[in-house]
């Protein structure tokens, strides 16, 4: 059982495929439920898409460091990048009761992440944006 796994990816949306496979392998190694794996895949997808699309909008290569670690009954996720300081958690919550013509496409991803994870925190230190997420394994 690998209780911790790390991956470094580039700022390219093609890397999402590699992240999916990496989450699947960790799920298999640790016998995680399909619901937990879905929450992990969705969270990485949404947060990494934001970083790749908006944090690093140019073609210059940058790295994003991601990791998963099982700590007791919790699964901890860490996502670090060196883009300009940006806290995605300050994004406005989408109005999910609004009619279609008033809907905006932005902000949906972070809403998903908040819904499927048990906690989401943002820090900025040593020139890095750091997102720390926790998913409780027992509740699912």
């Amino acid at each position: 059982m690998a209780l911790e796994t790390k991956l470094t990816i580039g700022n390219d949306l093609e890397e999402l495929d590699r992240v999916h496979a990496w989450v699947e392998a960790f799920q298999a190694d640790n016998a995680l439920s399909a619901d937990v794996a879905f929450a992990l895949t969705l969270s990485f997808d949404e947060l990494l898409t934001n970083i790749i699309s908006y944090g690093y909008p140019t073609d210059v290569q940058h790295a994003v460091w991601i990791s998963m670690r099982i700590v007791g009954e919790d699964l901890h996720i860490r996502i670090e990048d060196q883009a300009a300081p940006f806290n995605p958690l300050t994004a406005e919550e989408p109005d999910i009761d609004a009619p279609i013509e008033e809907r905006r496409i932005g902000g949906l991803g972070i809403h998903f992440v908040r819904t499927v994870m048990d906690s989401v925190e943002y820090q900025h230190s040593d020139g890095r944006n750091i997102l720390l997420l926790v998913k409780r394994l027992s509740s699912s």
């Binding site: 949306l13 999916h20 279609i100 496409i105």
Partner: protein
């Protein structure tokens, strides 16, 4: 690996999109292209069949939102069918069942078009305020 594919079928006046695999920010442009080709051909009666879709992120929902107004303005609709519980959950989290008709089976969506039932105008639920 995590491939995504869109198949297109024409059923009478309805264009059906069969989605397969992983729909995320990387693959969403393929779906966007499929919608564009239908709309360029003035096809506005659209059904999206999710039977073989394993996964959808907000980028996939964004594509549906991008085209729905244009399609309804042309008296068409985008109806959705055959979602797995997990994919339905993603739509549900954002209140999409109020905005789109979602059917258990594709034939029910096709039937709705055949009977020429247009999308009901949006009504805010009565919250008693």
């Amino acid at each position: 690996m995590n491939d995504f594919k869109v198949g297109i079928r024409h059923m009478d006046t309805v264009t059906v999109f069969d989605l397969k695999g992983y729909l995320d920010a990387h693959t969403a442009p393929d779906l966007e292209q499929a919608f564009l080709s239908a709309i360029d051909g003035r096809k506005y009666n659209l059904v999206v069949n999710f039977r073989d879709l394993a996964y959808i992120s907000s980028a996939g929902l964004g594509v549906l939102m991008q085209f729905i107004e244009d399609v309804r303005k042309n008296e068409g609709d985008i109806k959705l069918s055959n979602m797995s519980p997990r994919v339905f959950n993603v739509f549900d989290l954002l209140g999409f069942p109020m905005l789109y008709e979602i059917y258990a089976e594709e034939r029910d969506a096709l039937e709705k078009f055949r009977n020429n039932v247009t999308h009901p105008p949006y009504q805010k639920p009565d919250t008693g305020e």
